[in-house]
């Protein structure tokens, strides 16, 4: 048996969302099981079934370090500057 991860997507703009996992002996059975276990109440109109051993789990610490929030463009700071600039003019 191999473990597969199942992803479903509803019509529209939503991305694929993880639904759960199934055990199956091969790809064909994995598709059948995934459809029967996760897709029989119109949960989605598209389904991805991925072998779990092909899922790469990234390092969480590295992910935290990759943080590139817009610290060089602080919205609050700009808004305050804008306000003072406007009040200086009046």
């Amino acid at each position: 048996m191999k473990t597969y991860e199942v992803f479903l997507k509803k019509e529209g703009k939503d991305p694929f969302i993880h639904a759960g996992s199934v055990d199956a002996p091969d790809d064909e059975m994995a598709l059948t099981y995934a459809r029967e276990a996760y897709g029989r109440r119109s949960e989605g109109d598209q389904m991805w079934v991925v072998l779990r051993c092909n899922v790469l789990i990234a390092d969480e610490v590295e992910l935290e370090m990759a943080d590139r929030t817009h610290k060089h463009n602080d919205g609050k700071l700009v808004a305050e500057l804008r306000r003072t600039t406007l009040s200086d003019q009046s």
Binding site: V22, A37, I57
Partner: protein, 332 residues
């Protein structure tokens, strides 16, 4: 929440999600039980790859395994009633419900297996050998079609209420996520049960009497499903696996179902049942929990037959498992 290189008391870093390629050297862990409990109290969610304390891992695992076993045993009862259900419409409902229950068992066994304590097969074998347990309500015999309605209405509602209380605030991520689906489907089952109960309530005298007999048989098991009052310091509550005490859930159930049954013209098989004149709430008699304890150790009136039946189903499907295993082309 940072990661630490020192695993906390008793946590086993070798236990992790099997069959994945992990490009990380650190597992999220906590320096002490206090730190772990602070994390849970703050609404933290535990994931299968975390180096969680072994005691938490075991508690979550046992809880999910019991739930999975119960869905499976419930599914088998439901299956028994497909040929006996009156009419095509009811047969189709029974068929869909059977698939739901067996499906829930499948989803829950997958989540439990990822805790790396037992494989799915080991859980199955333990259940069939009588080494593990399932909910009290599947240890009694279903005598008639109205019993099946009572199970669908009273028992499914009790199971749903206890699952909703877990779903609300469960600290184990995969279980909470899968419960969303389980609960949605249990909701259909309960409504289906209610519809059938109301049909009997407004049916012929015979139908009404049959329904009453079944309520007499199933009222107490349904109320007992919530279990005895939660112990002080119950780990399931402390670790936010469950979010409500057993007695709170039981009381809420009584307040909801006593008026519904009385409204249908039925009586409730509890001579001590009364409405408190002060707070206006329904009070039930003290429950003797001893028979339940015996039942939960697989010593209930129908336990042996049900487990033997499940074992036969497992043996009869042996050729299917063998055919599937031999069809494996490329090893993963």
């Amino acid at each position: 929440m940072g990661a630490f290189d020192r695993p906390i008391n008793g946590s086993d870093t070798n236990r992790k999600l099997t069959n994945v390629r992990v490009y990380t050297f650190l597992m999220r862990t906590w320096n002490s039980m206090e730190e772990f409990e602070e994390f849970l109290d703050a609404g933290g969610v535990v994931e299968p790859n975390d180096a969680m304390p072994e005691s938490y891992r075991n508690a979550v695992f046992r809880f999910i395994e019991l739930h999975a076993n119960s869905e499976y045993m419930g599914g088998l009862t439901e299956r028994d009633w497909i040929p006996k259900a009156p009419g095509m419409h009811r047969k189709l409902t029974a068929l869909a419900k059977t698939q739901d229950e067996i499906g829930h068992a499948h989803l829950l066994y997958m989540v439990a297996a990822d805790l790396a304590i037992k494989t799915r097969e080991e859980m199955m074998v333990d259940l069939l050998e009588g080494r593990t347990h399932f909910h009290n309500v599947f240890h009694y015999r279903v005598h008639s079609w109205t019993d099946q309605i009572a199970v669908a209405y009273l028992v499914d509602a009790a199971a749903l209420a206890s699952q909703q209380a877990v779903f609300k605030n469960c600290s184990y991520g995969p279980y909470k996520r899968i419960l969303r689906r389980v609960i949605a489907e249990e909701g259909f089952h309960m409504r289906n049960g209610e519809e059938m109960m109301l049909l009997m309530a407004h049916g012929t005298e015979t139908q009404h009497d049959m329904m009453q007999e079944s309520i007499n048989r199933w009222w107490l098991p349904a109320v007992q499903l919530f279990g005895p009052d939660s112990r002080p310091g119950d780990e399931l509550l402390k670790w936010h696996i469950k979010s409500e005490r057993n007695e709170v859930l039981r009381d809420r159930y009584v307040q909801k179902f006593v008026p519904q049954l009385l409204g249908g013209g039925f009586t409730i098989p509890d001579p001590g049942l009364r409405k408190d004149p002060v707070d206006g709430r329904w009070k039930i008699s003290e429950i003797d929990w001893e028979p339940l304890k015996k039942t939960m150790r697989n010593g209930g009136p129908d336990s042996a037959r049900r487990i033997a039946d499940a074992r036969t189903a497992w043996q009869n499907a042996h050729w299917v498992r063998e055919a599937l295993d031999s069809s494996v082309e490329v090893p993963a």
